[in-house]
Amino acid sequence: MSAVADAHAADHHDHGPAKGIGRWLFTTNHKDIGTMYLVFSFAMFLAGGAMAMVIRAELFEPGLQMVQPAFFNQMTTMHGLIMIFGGVMPAFVGLANWMIPLMVGAPDMALPRMNNWSFWLLVTGSLILMSTLFMDGGAPNFGWTAYAPLSTTYGPDSTTYFIFSIHILGISSIMGAINVIATIINMRAPGMTLMKMPMFVWTWLITAFLLIAVLPVLAGAVTMMLMDIHFGTAFFDAAGGGDPVLYQHIFWFFGHPEVYILILPAFGIISQIIPTFSRKPLFGYTSMVYATAAIAILSFLVWSHHMFTVGLPLPGELFFMYATMIIAVPTGVKIFNWISTMFRGSISFETPMLFAIGFVVLFTVGGLSGVMLAIAPADFQYHDTYFVVAHFHYVLIPGAIYAIFASVYYWLPKWSGRMYSEALGKAHFWLSFIGLNIAFFPMHFLGLAGMPRRYADYPTQFANFNQVSTIGAFLFGASQLLLVFIVYRAVKNGRKAEAKPWEGAEGLEWTVPSPAPYHTFEQPPRVN
């Protein structure tokens, strides 16, 4: 992304960016920090993707070909951790950094120095996490959920490093979230009332609240884990009066809101892009805001649906089943609103819009399998099978990751001042779309037919679908390299972008030139 920097450097502003590496190390500029977040998260996305390729290659056929189960488990664990904490979350923070000040008309984030620390702590935590791959006994191998006592009494030495890396990543995210909230509440341009904010800003406001509320809970869970490992406590050990399931309760009290942390900003992005390319205002803005808030509140009440088979007492099982099912209602409202936005619009299919439509279609698939999983008695069959793997990849890839891709294509002209190649962008979309469905749709069948997740080796009856799935996964993985090329090519010698490259786009970010000058809105704009 250094080319982006060059584009900015030529800017006529009186205090442009510093020169050299110092610019990136010491910067307080939300655009620099946003760029760093985006580049870093993409690097992590590729690293986590490489691990997914190892997993899929091993599963190409039954038997042990590529790796041993011990290493396989490290791959599944690290793949999950890296994609969530290193890939999706930082990508959204990067988008927030770049876009929120531009969308609300603020000169920068509210607390610019802390903003930089958030980013570099992300790097710090990721370094510690990645270093575990090279340790004796290997990286964490207990799944990203790190259930005790597999992670405590039976965990490798690297568990301790994992725990502290989670602490640091948590601190980073909390500081990032505080910054986002302070910016949204305190830095809006005159006239930008709450109910005039773009949906992306709204969803991030709610996401930031969730982050601050639940990351400390995760910190509590891993701290207890640390104590059990090194200080002889009995939190997760029944012999001392504790309970391994306590860990799961705390973890999922974090974990379920975390799922919405990974998807709410995506809802916001889609709510920006669909109106633009439908040339029609977002349908039901108010109900979108309320639906987002409702999803966030419900997310605190459904955590045990990840634990239906753990032996919850019946009233608990029923409560969590009902609460989970209710989430389908506000989620449905969102889907219907997006479709109604497209309905009787004037739709064109630039790459961001393709990804947005892909989002709505495939997220619906993931949402509906989510409804099935909510049905507790049926979940006694689905739980911990590939059906679940299919479900959460259908909500996370077409959900979170498609939204991130869409926003990269949508806002790249604003960031770099250059247009990407529409033909290549469309190729990227279709390859991703086909690859993803070949990779993950068969997993539904695998799960229903009885294949548990996190298996390094499996009975021969599952061989065919696994083979198909692996082929799809490699297609999906390879097509992401295309994105690197597309962005590189656009930034190097793409066509110059106008201030507002999309005919139907609305919002303050399109009122500044492309590329956005190093400093914007030093004089606040007035929103009518």
Binding site: Y154, S287, S340, P452, Y458
Partner: protein
């Protein structure tokens, strides 16, 4: 014919004759061998078809929108952006649909939790990486360990049908008997799962989870461990041999005779 060739053949058949081949590929839950598993299968299909119907509706709406209102075809955008009536409708109707799903689910769940009146009890204990079965009413207790040959794992010999499924000592159970399972673990969390019984239940060290089954059909039922339990996670299969009651009594007599 090698395994690969077989598989390639299966792939080709699947493309040409999907309906027959899918049966072999295994695409759905089993109906299972107990009334609970049948009920669960019914709920699963009920919810599945509702979801399919909703999905088809949503996709048609999207398809209609993107086909009919294309900019390239000169579509002029309307400017409406709110309609309270439709918003209320699409909030209330999904709610009603959910209630239709919740009612059978609730009843089934209540049944699954009611293991009273069990005629026998089996204590299942997970170990890294094998299962221990204790017949609480008899003097029988044994380990059931995987016995898939290592050479098959390493692809040195042909994999058989029961690859990764076969165990040395299957759990032998009588049919038409309400059996309560007491499930626990000796080390990490495992999960005991026989799909034909309709459920999996986590084995938590230091705690006991209960579930039950009343097997209706004699036969051999396979299952797998469903909670990550370390490097042998994919290597602790379950085999249940359900036999008629008198055959079961004979087996018990044989076992207790041998043991004592």
């Amino acid at each position: 014919m090698s395994v690969q060739a077989l598989r390639a053949g299966a792939l080709a058949t699947a493309v040409t004759a999907p309906s027959s081949a899918f049966a072999e590929w295994g695409v759905n839950l089993p109906k299972g061998a107990t009334s609970i598993s049948n009920t669960i299968y019914g709920i699963h299909m009920w919810v599945f078809w509702i979801c399919v119907a909703i999905g088809v509706g949503v996709f048609l709406a999207i398809l209609w929108s993107v086909l009919a209102y294309r900019h390239s075809k000169g579509a002029k955008p309307a400017h409406f952006h709110e309609n309270t009536t439709v918003e209320i409708i699409w909030t209330v109707i999904p709610f009603l649909i959910l209630i239709m799903m919740a009612i059978p689910a609730t009843g089934t769940l209540v049944d699954m939790y009611d293991s009273s009146g069990a005629e026998m009890e089996i204590k299942v204990t997970g170990y890294q990486w094998r299962w221990q079965y204790e017949y609480m009413d008899e003097d029988i207790s044994f380990f059931s360990s995987p016995d898939t040959p290592r050479d098959a794992e390493k692809n040195l010999i042909e994999k058989t049908e029961d690859y990764k499924y076969s165990v040395d000592n299957p759990l032998v159970l009588p049919v038409d008997t309400k059996i309560r399972f007491l499930i626990t673990s000796n080390d990490v969390i495992h999960s005991w799962w026989v799909p034909e019984f309709g459920w999996k239940q986590d084995a938590i060290p230091g705690f006991i989870n209960k579930n039950w089954a009343k097997i209706e059909e004699p036969g051999t039922y396979h299952g797998l461990c469903a909670e990550l339990c370390g490097q042998g996670h994919s290597d602790m299969p379950i085999e249940v041999k359900a036999v008629p009651k008198d055959e079961y009594r004979e087996w018990v007599a044989e076992q207790t005779g041998e043991n004592g």
